[in-house]
Symmetry: C2
Subunit: 839 residues, 2 copies
């Protein structure tokens, strides 16, 4: 399959190009300073044929190795920037470099690889050396990586029968339009293990048509094909992303239903009716000192009604649902991972560790302690930076709203809330996006300081740090709104002031939940839109441009000439952007997962937004991988590593966060307490009155009372549970306050333990290993024993034949049938300790 | 080593007896009915030499196989009772039986085993057939079980140097007297894997002297030896028990310190001082209707002081400590298990499943649904039984105390509390012990109804059921005292009555914690003492006696004659009790673990009692295993199975239970709330007064006021937070009640999340794989690659030599040194998808 195309084969048109090495010849000398951070990389073919057994360092076993290109020419990953610096050491070393290069290539030849250089020798610009790994090398390396080969034996996977068979057939048919139209692997007969040594050249095209376009958004991803072409690590990422997106569908549907429930009940909801009722005439205490006037609660009717959309009993159900959903997602992923491990033959793969490039430099740094200290203090500093920015935003809001409230222009005055919120959130979003990029760079810098020993170690530490920083960055303002805003504002007559002049901000009269909801949706949608469009599409394009520009600077005409003369595949590939790891892709998704799980109680539409984003994201990533990046080194791995731990940690965290959001941020608990403890009718009538405390306006400290006009009232109302002015303990927390607090806390305990129990139940019910996989494994093992036994028997037979020539046959009794009945009364192994008693 | 002893070898004195089969010849015919429950057992040598490849059923792979006796003659486990029935099918079948027996023995011979029968043929009584597994059979089976053999290569485990080396040397020396004095395995050089084909005959004696005596209680157990002699499963049990006991030592020490803290502070404790102060003159409301009189709080001074021993701030610390201890224990066990897996070469072992004997009978029962229904309803019934017994105990206590209070005898009256508590707890203990045995049998019956498919499955289901039943049985009365007693008693003037006449019981004036403590200590100590002494020593002795008596009934003189004539080892072994699984041993320990973890907040001495019990228990079990039981079949297993899940589930449960015990059962939170919210001085002075509510004695319903004499008081006091009679909301819960409730709930949330976080931290900090093990694994892998490579190279060399005869040498460039510098500027795998762009 596939016609011979220039650039995919050696000049003989037969041997395929498996790997391309690029050498730069250049006149400029630009010594960059950071070379000592990146030691030279060692050739890491697992076995190089002439491997010296006495040298233990030389025997380091490489983990890398393509799924089906088993030549593990691991020269380090992400080296491009490094090596560009390494070779620019000027003219004097040029002669030495040629020698080194020749030695390097000799080692490759020695390891059994075949090589083809450009026919013409050029002095400037990149020159390409193509490598081909012949079958013998592939087999040798495959043996080291313990890749299974198929035996002649194959077996039929049992077909399901009866009702379940019909159902699964129906399901398959239903799914047909969603399956990518690629030649299906025949799943009904499965070989013991796949091991394909042939590159399928058409793979690349397939992938392009069936996966990397937006038109295919509704289809399943061809995960097996992705893995075959890009290796297991990237295959697992897309499989994970696919499962996550798939499971977002039910979550979105339930979320939309919850939202619709809110929409439908908003007119029958008694608390919002009462708030909108102008006859009830609740005169509220002013929202700021002096400048603000008393106001009518009914003027905030709109917020109250909007608030109900997100703050209704269905939200509680949805929070529980989503917590179980998270547990389900984690379990389903475990299953999927095991299924993929099985079908990709990774079950036997153990995580071997690759020493990083920085290994040699451990001793340069001497003690690691300073590194750790810098690390911790830097992270704390970053946290501090984030928190102070959040505080800065608070101050900005307080000051702006005070200033605007004092403005004589009534137009300005009426728009206070809208203006303040809009500007603040926008600034916040920009700050988050900028800090996100900075924190990414800081995390890399900090991890390099730590000098981790292995590549996996490096990656995990980097991820953990980057995650912590980005998480705090993205969520700090949201946490503030959810749990702190309006809780330290004090009460009329005893407000809390910052900088002696500005009153702490309060939540909107509809409750803090609506503000949380606005904050969440803007940050989530904004972050995704901007990061997707600008960073994921724009930045790579920009980088490519810069690269092209740089290379042009060196020898524009020459390269152009080459390109037109030989439009070889490798020339085109070289112009693509190098792949720099999956971390940013995962990170983006994990932060999104946080929006979906952590605060879902306040924003039931989050799964829907996430779903829309992901459907686009998958195809965007696919396009990027197939057409815009150089084909990455394929890496074998069994799992998604530390990301699973982060996901599961977030799942645990989300339970307690949702519990607190429902009980403290939403008005659910106060409403319940009123209905069942205080309501004289057992309904919600009178709830608004009950939730507002009285304040005697003569108790305002001098200079804080509204100046506008003389009031014709004695009491103004405010949202809190405090004793009325006529009580002996005026303005102290009332009994209702404590009762509501107790109910809130009891709800947290109940919710947390219920959800934890449900999570355990889900984990227990969904077994990690799917039943058909475990059956297949059993069958394979049995077949293996089978083959082994036959060999054993043949050997025995041979020995016996040889032996019987010397000794006369002893004639074992012939037993043609198996003795199925047990005639032994009892049996036991010989007991040796009893000899003590015999003596 | 070891002299030739009669009975341990075949008559040639050379071949060792590895297995003994017993055949019964008897005249009686007693057909028992339950034979269909136990189908005949199939001979399960993994490979029997003449294995028919066409028959897939015959290829079932057995899991069993001794640690070093790899002849896996698995005839089913626990068959003794079965087979005793199976052969008793009367005379007519006797001829057939002889045929079957011969066929059976022929199959054994065919499988390569060697056999020796008794020289004289007897008609009655048991006759013994000894089996010897020759080296060739051992090797063949070992290959199937993938047992590693040592290569010639061995390497030195790196010695620690510097400070840590000195420390570990010091630690080793310190530990010297605690190590069992057996010939130590040389740990400084370790072979790639152990595989000893030689039985060490002296093992039995060693084990007896160094392990199975009380004198050795302070020593570590020779776990390696135990594993070698009894197999991995039993080895793991003792290793687990050892680790548990070892970790109980620090827990006991801290527990004793906490108790001592209580003892030391009892005199300076203000609440108990106030309670004992007779000047304070708190007149309490009567404890029962009519018959009881008002009483002075100071009369209960003793309980108040005792209560402080267990109910002090140190207890809170201890509860947190113990929760972390549980997490630590679980993590340490994971580590230990991995270490043992490594040193016992189990790392590659996969759990294969053995089909149970009941397999054939699945179709007999048809649908399993009825089984499940019976199951669930039976378990619910048992739970109901337990709960009704607990309720019965409550009624007993209520009635007895009411009756005794009404008795005219003042002697009786004064002893009410002591008599009631003592009798009730004793009855309770007896009921628990009896139900424990019943529930064990019920669990077996129920599991048989379910017809699980594999032995492991059977065991796990049985364990789960037995655990649930026994757990509820042991803890139901304790839960009642901890969380329900005294909470539904009502208040003076509005008491809760059962059966219209009897008031619900209240806690002692010192608080419920002291009652919980008494209940716990009696059940824990009593259960352990009685179960240890009576059931573990007495019952096996009794069983042995009965067995001996039975056999005597058959042919007393004949057997006696034989015994005196040939006191062969197997005759003696046969008189021992057969081994019936580790489940009871584990179960006992897990229930004990519950006492140590679940309610430790109320009884800090629990770890100490557990420690004392376990030190005895280990040696008792050891003695039992070595001298009183037949040597059990050794079973290879990697872990302790479902027990770990149960332990970890209990650990999770214990967090929430301890949180509730501290916040609701102990007086810690009310004291804290008083001190920080209500106390005018900021000290505890006045706490007792604050915690007692007022009752106007004129409000007693008619007929419930004390009849003894006219009172000279208007108010009596009772322990609750309610509004006083003069308030507008008389006898309603006061604000203090709600504040205390909120504080209690807040504490639960705080405690639970803090402890869960600490648990995660512990799990994260203690890596599952110890560092030295992971290093050894790496080294072993490297050596393996090493060996492999050398072979590969030799092969290559051979091929090259042959090849060079035909072709002239191409002369690879000689590179003597490794090229450490990377001269490749960039590299990438050949990109195939880009061909799309080329077209």
């Amino acid at each position: 399959n596939g016609t011979v195309r220039p650039g995919q084969f050696f000049s003989d048109g037969r041997r395929k190009v498996d790997y391309v090495l690029v050498f730069h010849h250049c006149r400029q000398t630009s010594l960059k300073g950071s070379a000592h951070h990146h030691p030279p990389h060692r050739l890491n073919v697992i076995s190089n044929g002439s491997f010296p057994p006495a040298d233990p360092v030389g025997g380091a076993v490489g983990q890398r190795g393509g799924g089906d290109r088993e030549v593990c020419v691991d020269l380090g990953v992400g080296v491009d920037s490094v090596v560009e610096e390494a070779y620019l050491e000027g003219d004097p070393a040029e002669g030495e470099k040629v020698l080194i290069r020749e030695e390097f290539e000799a080692r490759l030849l020695e390891a059994g690889l075949e090589m083809e250089r450009d026919t013409e020798i050029r002095v400037y610009g990149p020159s390409f050396t193509r490598l081909h790994a012949p079958w013998s090398v592939l087999s040798r390396e495959a043996e080291f990586l313990k890749i299974k080969v198929p035996t002649n034996k194959s077996y039929r996977v049992r077909e399901e029968r009866g009702l379940s068979g019909t159902l699964s057939e129906f399901w398959r048919k239903m799914n047909q339009p969603f399956q990518p139209s690629i030649p299906q692997l025949d799943h009904s007969t499965k070989h013991l293990a796949h091991f394909s040594s042939q590159h399928n050249i058409t793979e690349g095209l397939l992938l392009h048509d069936e996966w990397a376009r937006y038109g295919a958004f509704y289809k399943y991803q061809p995960v097996d094909l992705i893995r075959k072409y890009f290796g297991e690590k990237i295959g697992l990422y897309f499989a994970w992303l696919g499962l996550y997106t798939q499971l977002l569908i039910p979550a979105s549907i339930v979320g939309v239903f919850v939202f619709c429930y809110g929409c439908n009940t908003v007119d029958t909801n008694i608390p919002s009716q009462e708030m909108c009722d102008e006859h009830q005439n609740f005169t509220m205490c002013p929202l700021c000192d002096r400048a603000c006037d008393y106001w009518q609660l009914s003027s905030e009717c709109g917020t109250a009604r909007t608030s109900h959309l997100f703050d209704n009993p269905a939200t509680v159900f949805f929070a529980i649902f989503m917590s179980v959903w998270v547990a389900m997602f984690l379990e389903q992923w475990k299953r999927r991972q095991i299924t993929l491990n099985h079908s990709w033959d990774l079950t036997g793969l153990e995580d071997e560790e690759v020493e990083t490039h920085t290994l040699l430099f451990i001793y340069h740094y001497g003690d690691r302690l300073p590194g750790y200290l810098i690390n911790i203090s830097s992270i704390l500093f970053m946290f501090g930076l984030t928190f102070s920015l959040v505080f800065g935003m608070i101050v900005y809001r307080i000051v702006l709203s005070t200033v605007m409230a004092m403005s004589p222009d009534p137009q300005t005055k009426s728009n206070v809330r809208v203006t303040v919120t809009a500007t603040a959130v926008t600034i916040n979003l920009v700050v988050i996006l900028i800090l996100d990029e900075i924190y990414g760079a800081v995390a890399v810098w900090l991890t390099e300081l730590e000098i981790p020993r292995t590549e996996r170690d490096f990656e995990e530490r980097l991820i953990l740090k980057a995650f912590l920083l980005k998480f705090v960055n993205a969520y700090a303002p949201i946490f503030y709104v959810a749990f702190f805003k309006g809780r330290f504002a004090g009460r009329p007559g005893d407000y809390v002031y910052v900088f002696n002049d500005y009153r702490m901000e309060e939540c909107a009269p509809g409750g803090c939940l609506i503000e949380l909801c606005i904050q969440l949706s803007i940050i989530m949608v904004g972050k995704q839109l901007i990061q997707n469009n600008m960073f994921e599409i724009g930045i790579p394009k920009l980088k490519k441009l810069i690269r092209a520009f740089k290379d042009k600077g060196i020898s524009l005409e020459e390269r152009e000439g080459q390109l037109t003369r030989h439009p070889q595949q490798w020339n085109l590939d070289y112009t693509l952007v190098p792949f720099d790891g999956l971390t940013p892709e995962y990170m983006e998704m994990i932060i999104q997962f946080g929006f979906v799980s952590l605060f879902v109680a306040s924003f039931p539409l989050a799964p829907l937004f996430a779903l829309i984003n992901n459907v686009i994201e998958i195809r965007l990533d696919a396009k990027k991988f197939v057409t815009e990046l150089r084909r990455p080194d394929s890496v074998r791995t069994k799992d998604i590593g530390i990301w699973y731990n982060i996901l599961s940690g977030m799942g645990k965290f989300s339970v307690i966060i949702n519990a607190f959001v429902i009980s403290f941020t939403s008005g659910f608990i106060p409403r319940m307490v009123y209905q069942y403890m205080y309501s004289p009718t057992g309904t919600m009538h009178g709830f608004v009155d009950h939730s507002l405390s009285y304040f005697n306006i003569s108790h305002f400290p001098s200079g804080t009372a509204p100046t506008s006009k003389a009031p014709n009232i004695t009491f103004c109302r405010y949202r809190d549970y405090r004793e009325p002015p006529w009580s002996a303990e005026a303005y102290q927390f009332s009994k209702a306050y404590w009762a509501v607090l107790a109910a809130r806390l009891a709800f947290v305990i109940l919710f947390q333990n219920l959800v934890m129990f449900l999570g355990l139940l889900v984990a227990w019910m969904i077994s990690d290993v799917p039943k058909d996989i475990s059956e297949q494994l059993k069958r394979e093992k049995k077949m293996l024993v089978d083959v082994f036994l036959r060999e054993e028997k043949e050997k025995l037979h041979l020995v016996q034949t040889l032996f019987s020539k010397n000794h006369p046959s002893e004639g074992h009794p012939e037993t043609s049938q198996y003795c199925g009945r047990c005639v032994v009364a009892e049996y036991f192994p010989a007991d040796l300790s009893q000899t003590v008693d015999v003596r």
